[in-house]
Structure formats: structure tokens, C-alpha cells
Symmetry: C2
Subunit: 223 residues, 2 copies
């Protein structure tokens, strides 16, 4: 057992974490520049905006210490790199605007504080920010992004932050080692479903369920 | 408050209870006479087959007393009638076979022990069983079935037992007063989704979450 744990600690894990509605959506219907998450989907994230651990990381005062706080702390600990999809990085579809390229939703000092790898079909030079977050744009697919993230994470874990499209790709390829699903008891009725077309968890098993009033946290681990 | 509770007690509630996969399905893909729940969907019900309260009601010995037992007890208490869809009653699509009509999955003494109303497009005379369960076939729609069930329940609650199609109809009409969702941490990848096309819970709010190792029980109540 000790040996197994040591071996695990040697390899950085790919850890999916995402908020999902009770009907399985991670974004709402009618996504647009004005409603980047889709209509109604901001409700998926209200639970995390209220948590002190998350607020303090994002430079905001106050917040609650509740059942969800420990979950947020556990998620944030030991992350050395993040992978996200182009839509989560944000902006617009298609090629990047060379003159004034979109810099993401996160302002001058994004809250990641580690290398972020953005999966896109359109090449773009890396984006350095005033803080210690860098964005690297990967056009060579999910395995290449994972390899680059693993090198950058230097033994720490890698957060797979969304959206649904790249989560599905990593899930279908069996590359996800850990999965935190934050299920919010609302219906969105449309948008992108996390598990659309995915019918195999590739050995991910539910190991912990934490029920908070407005969200249920499910932790899956690869056996 | 006392008055409000008294008023509530006067009216029998329509209580939906159903097992659902982590990707939102209440039946699996490729439903057939051989696989009436669809492929893989028997896994949605393993948790209840293991519970002593359920086994004893179905004439089986043994079983576990676990976190799910109290949930099953609460579900079974105070039910005076059940509504179900044609597919859950089972058998075959289309008109009933007059000579040898399908009698359901439940043997000579079905475990309901109260009036059951089966929504169908095809008329059929009521079916009396050797026990105290009767099946009445309703071709006049969900509101008519609810009205008949309410009369039969005589003040007790009405179980809405599935499948997904009639649950969706009652949900969309805002007629569900209580909802128990038993969510099982598996993916089915196909079949019938409980909330397909339903984007409004009509005031049903999550009031309790009970996490068992192999199933999470969500209780919603109309506010």
C-alpha cells in the first residue's frame, strides 16, 4: 500500500472539476459573448462564488466557511497546471485577432498562478500576464496538451477545468484520473451536457459524496 | 404553520420516485422484451434490491439495513395509489392482446397492494389480481389518471413510479408535489432521460440529500 501511494505521488494526476446541473448540463442554452456560459448557467457557480477559499484566491473579501469550503481547498491544493478549452478561455470562435487578441476573462492577473494550456484549432503565441499565469495555446490535440501540462506541473496535479467538449474528449480517452462533479439542483433544459456520448468512466469510481444545501460534491477516483 | 400543515395533510400528494444514472437516464439503450429496462439499466436498481425494507415487501428474506433503508421506508409509507406508464407495466407496444393480455411483471400477487393506474393509448378492462392490487388502464390522459388515483388513494399519497415519459409529462404540467431521485454513479450512455425537454421544476426544491455508498438520494418538495 505504501509503495502504491508512493508510485501514485510520483505521477501528476489529471483532475477534472466542473459544475453540472441536475439535468447534466455544464453550460446553458444560447451561449453568446453576452452570455458566455449560456442562459441561466451562472446559477451553476453561485455555490463557489460564496465560498471564502475561492473568494480569497480571486482577491475578494468575505465568503462562507461551509461544507463546500473543504472541497474547494482540496481542489486547489497541489495543482501545477491547468488545461481548458478555447471556449472557456473565451472570446470568440475562429482564428485569433492578431491585432488585439482576446486575453481571457480573468483580467491582468488571472487567478491560476501556474501554466495554463488552452486547446484550440488556431495557432497563437503564448500569452504572458502580469502575474505568474501563462497561457500556452495547443493545436496538437488533447494528448499533446496533457504531456505539456505534465511537464509544466513538475509532479503536481493538472486541473481539467472545462468546458464540456474537452472534458468529454479526455473522459472518452480514459485519461482522467480524478473527477470532482459539483451538481447543482436546478434544470437548465439545454446547453452542453458533460457526458453526451460518453458511456464509460474508464475505472473512475465514486469515493466520496458531500451534500451541501445548494450543491452536492461527488469525488471519483480511478481505481 | 399548524394550519398550513393541516391543509397539506388533507390533500394527497403526487410523489415521483425514480432511479437515475449519473448521466440522467432512467432506462438504458436498446429496450426490448428481453431487456425491458434497456441494456445496463438493471444497475440502477441494485441499491434497492439490497435493502431489507424493499425485499420484505417483495416477499424476499434478508437484505441490508443501511442509509437507503429509511429512504425506502419513507417512500413506501402512506401511499394509497400508484400511477405508471404503459412501458413500466410492461409487455409490448400497441393494442393489448385480447386473448392472453399481458399481466405485468409482478406475478400473481403484485407488490403494490393498492390501486394502480396505467397510462396507455389502448383501452383495456381493469385487471384484478389474487392479492389486493388492481390495475386500471387510463386512456384519457395524465390529469384524468391523477384524478382517479386521488379518489382511490382516499387522502393518502400517490406514487408516480415511471417511466421517464409519464414522469416528464407530470413534471412539465407542474403536477408533481414531491420527488425522490435516486442517483446511481454509473453512466448508461443512452436510453430515456428523465428531464429531456423539461426545463422547469415548477417550484420543486431540494430539501434533503442522503449519500449512500452506491446511490445518492435527493428529496425535492414543492414550496
Amino acid at each position: 500500500m505504501a509503495k502504491q501511494e508512493r508510485m501514485r505521488a510520483d505521477v501528476s494526476r489529471l483532475s477534472l472539476r466542473i459544475s453540472m446541473s441536475f439535468d447534466g448540463y455544464t453550460s446553458g442554452p444560447h451561449q453568446s459573448l453576452e452570455a458566455p456560459l449560456g442562459v441561466g448557467a451562472e446559477k451553476l457557480h453561485e455555490w463557489v462564488f460564496a465560498v471564502r477559499a475561492w473568494r480569497s484566491r480571486h482577491g475578494m473579501a468575505g465568503g462562507e466557511d461551509n461544507e463546500s469550503s473543504a472541497v474547494v481547498d482540496a481542489e486547489m491544493a497541489n495543482i501545477g497546471a491547468t488545461i481548458m478549452g478555447r471556449n472557456m478561455f473565451g472570446g470568440h470562435p475562429g482564428a485569433w485577432n492578431d491585432r488585439e487578441p482576446w486575453r481571457g476573462w480573468w483580467g491582468k492577473n488571472p487567478p491560476f498562478h501556474h501554466p495554463v494550456f488552452v486547446l484550440t484549432h488556431h495557432e497563437r503565441a503564448p500569452l504572458r500576464t502580469e502575474g505568474d499565469t501563462t497561457f500556452t495555446f495547443v493545436t496538437t490535440g488533447i494528448e499533446s496538451a496533457l504531456e505539456q501540462a505534465r511537464r509544466a506541473a513538475a509532479g503536481k496535479d493538472i486541473a481539467l477545468a472545462g468546458g464540456a467538449t474537452i472534458c468529454r474528449q479526455y473522459l472518452a480517452a480514459g485519461l482522467v484520473d480524478e473527477m470532482f462533479i459539483h451538481q447543482v439542483p436546478i434544470l437548465l433544459g439545454g446547453g452542453e451536457r458533460l457526458f453526451e456520448g460518453v458511456d464509460d468512466l474508464h475505472g473512475l469510481e465514486l469515493v466520496e459524496t458531500i451534500a451541501a444545501p445548494n450543491v452536492t460534491h461527488f469525488k471519483f477516483l480511478k481505481r
